[in-house]
């Protein structure tokens, strides 16, 4: 992914814009996944409002994003103060990008009657990163945590049917999803989750005697795809080792299937992730020596999706 981007921009380097373009090229290819993430999530938000007539007010989007930003700054400063080894670091602006991603995810998924609930969810989401962390890793996907707490304690809801099943939308999600996953190296998690969930749904479909189009309909939900491509792939709350990630994602798939079909919980994958997220810490222990742990040598692309 990085290569293809520099290759593309590289062609322009010889022109008279080359100094500027080189700068831009370097910036783009070095940009962490969150930049893409923010861009794509904003596109999805736009699609939702324009194409899917979500009744979403822009003021609420602004309030949610600001709440995420302020909470991030507040906790980052607090964290810096109490962790002397971090005090040499600059003011952690990079955390603001993560907060923006989390905020956009909240706007995409969470619906509430009042702005206060959104602020509550935003605060909880960002706070969870600082409270539930171990060795620079989060126990929970921040947006997932914030939404779950808002659902449990506030008057909020999520709408799994909000995207529908249109093919063109699947194509948009899939292409943007894989673009960002290639950048962060988390496509294995997406595939393992989707494959295990789809396999179980397929077996159940066959056993019950439903036609294939029922299965396709169940699997082609926009919300499911968005979850598989963007939410479950957050590097900060998934296991470091590839093998660990694969097993962990399969577990999320199995639990989603059980929640969906035997406990009749709507938005099952969402709750399955909430339940499984802390286990990624355990998976990190189990698979720590794995040769697939290459990603842990790199600085984390702090890339929390939803």
């Amino acid at each position: 992914m990085e290569q293809s981007i520099s290759g593309f921009w590289g062609r322009f380097d010889r022109g008279r814009w080359s100094p500027h373009l080189t700068k831009l090229t370097t910036k783009l290819s070095n940009a962490d996944g969150r930049i893409y993430q923010i861009l794509f999530l904003s596109i999805f938000l736009g699609l939702g409002v324009i194409e899917r007539d979500w009744s979403l007010s822009w003021s609420r989007v602004g309030i949610t994003l600001s709440a995420c930003g302020f909470t991030q700054v507040f906790f980052a400063l607090l964290y810096q103060r109490f962790n002397s080894q971090d005090s040499a670091q600059r003011f952690p602006f990079s955390g603001l990008l993560s907060a923006l991603v989390t905020g956009l995810s909240l706007c995409l998924l969470l619906r509430a009657n009042s702005d206060l609930t959104m602020i509550f969810a935003a605060f909880t989401a960002i706070a969870s990163k600082f409270i539930f962390r171990i060795r620079q890793k989060h126990w929970f996907n921040p947006a997932n945590f914030g939404i779950a707490i808002a659902l449990l304690f506030g008057s909020a809801w999520i709408s799994p049917g909000q995207w529908g099943h249109d093919l063109w939308l699947m194509v948009v999600f899939a292409s943007l999803g894989f673009a960002v996953l290639g950048k962060v190296g988390r496509w294995d998690t997406s595939l393992a989750f989707f494959a295990s969930y789809a396999a179980l749904e397929g077996i159940r479909n066959f056993y019950l005697g439903w036609e294939t189009d029922v299965l396709l309909h169940r699997l082609s939900s926009g919300s499911l795809l968005l979850f598989a491509l963007f939410m479950i792939t957050d590097p900060r709350s998934t296991p470091n080792a590839r093998l660990g990630r694969i097993f962990w994602a399969i577990l999320v798939g199995i639990i989603s299937f059980i929640f969906q079909n035997y406990l009749f919980i709507s938005a099952a994958p969402f709750w399955a992730l909430f339940v499984c997220a802390p286990l990624s810490v355990v998976f990190d222990r189990l698979f720590v020596g794995s040769r697939f742990g290459w990603l842990s040598k790199r600085p984390f692309a702090q890339f929390s999706l939803t």
């Binding site: 619906r111 009657n113 005697g209 309909h217």
Partner: protein
Amino acid sequence: MSALLKFLSSFFLCFLAFIFCSSPALAFCGFYVAKADAKLYNQASQVAIARDGNRTVLTMANDYQGDLKDFAIVIPVPTVLKKDQVRVGDPKIMQRLDAFSAPRLVEYYDSDPCARLEEFSRDAMRSNSVLQSPSAAKARRQESLGVTIEEKFTVGEYDILILSAKESNGLETWLTQNGYRLPNGASQLLQPYIRQGLKFFVAKVNLAEKAKSDSQNLRPLMMAFESPKFMLPIRLGMTNARGEQDLLVYLLSPKGQTELVNYRTAKIPSDLEIPTYVKSNFGEFYKAMFNTSHLKEGKSLAFLEYAWDMSSCDPCAADPLSPEELRGAGVFWLDNPNKDAALSNSGRRRPGFFPPTNNSNVFITRLHVRYARNTFPEDLSFKETSNRQQFQGRYILRFPFKGEMKCEAAKEYRKQLRDRQEKEAVILASLTNWNMQDIRRKANITQNQEKNVPFWRNIWRN
């Protein structure tokens, strides 16, 4: 003071006209199984679901038009239902729910531009949803087929069996042997329900009981049960209906809107000003508009027609339902103000299937689903939300001032009026896909105005 009152009354006096599809046939979610060779098709149905937590009261009304002795219906249900869990509902309640939540027409009258701005509005409402109900057949026990009669009872004009089955072939054979005529492919459709552990609610008309009752039509069937499954089986109904069927679902909840989980829901176009001539054929307009929206959105989604707290309405297509009527619609969580009356008079009033809790909130969601086998492969799944956002299908008629106008302001008014009428015609054309020329002719848009309209507008719309 009187001017103020007049002004205020203009906001509160709304005249609403509602017509839903001119023949809103109503049918069940299950399929009809006829004993005779009668060709039975169900084209539309109305279902009310009152649900709080896992507690559910389901009311189904249908439009069965054939001979009552031929009527039978099979509905998958999540649990075995005992006699006291099944009731016959009052058909009027379904009409009340329909009327209360129906898309509405609002009229406003322009004031004399030469006088002070005053708006008057009047409202009226009509509803032509007609309710009729089901009929049935015979049943005997044959365990060798793996079919068990879990319960057998008569409620109102219905003979009801609750069956559980092990194999779909056995159930199909059992039903056929017992005189039910099944549509082709029934076995294949029944199997997934059997394997999901669902039971089958089989109802037919008890002709002797029916003769005793006053009503001509079959009354709605109500059933109460507790189940975490919040779904409505529509797949069985696809076998004996040709093409698309209409389903109106009234979802009643103490919390807020109820959403469809496995299909997208779009809001029906609303709050639009349309030409005044639509008043006389609102039903036709609504049908055309629904059809156009349905096609435009790709057919595989539900439409939200109404979402409102039932304690009020603005404007009202019909008076809000009384607590008594809400209980009749299955709302079991209302405070019961006169429990003694309920006890002493239980024959007449419906005490509710579950003990009442301290909650007087009822939020209604009206979903209109037009489904067919290829566009809606799965049964409908719902979920309750705390969404209190209100929505209604509302269409506005603005009548021009007809009196004599002798002032400068009148010129300006006439110009604005022409622009407005043209805009209304364009909106109507895009909503209904009706011919622009016809709309102009019917709306009586003046020649004067047509001069200002570019020629291509006659064939191309915005």
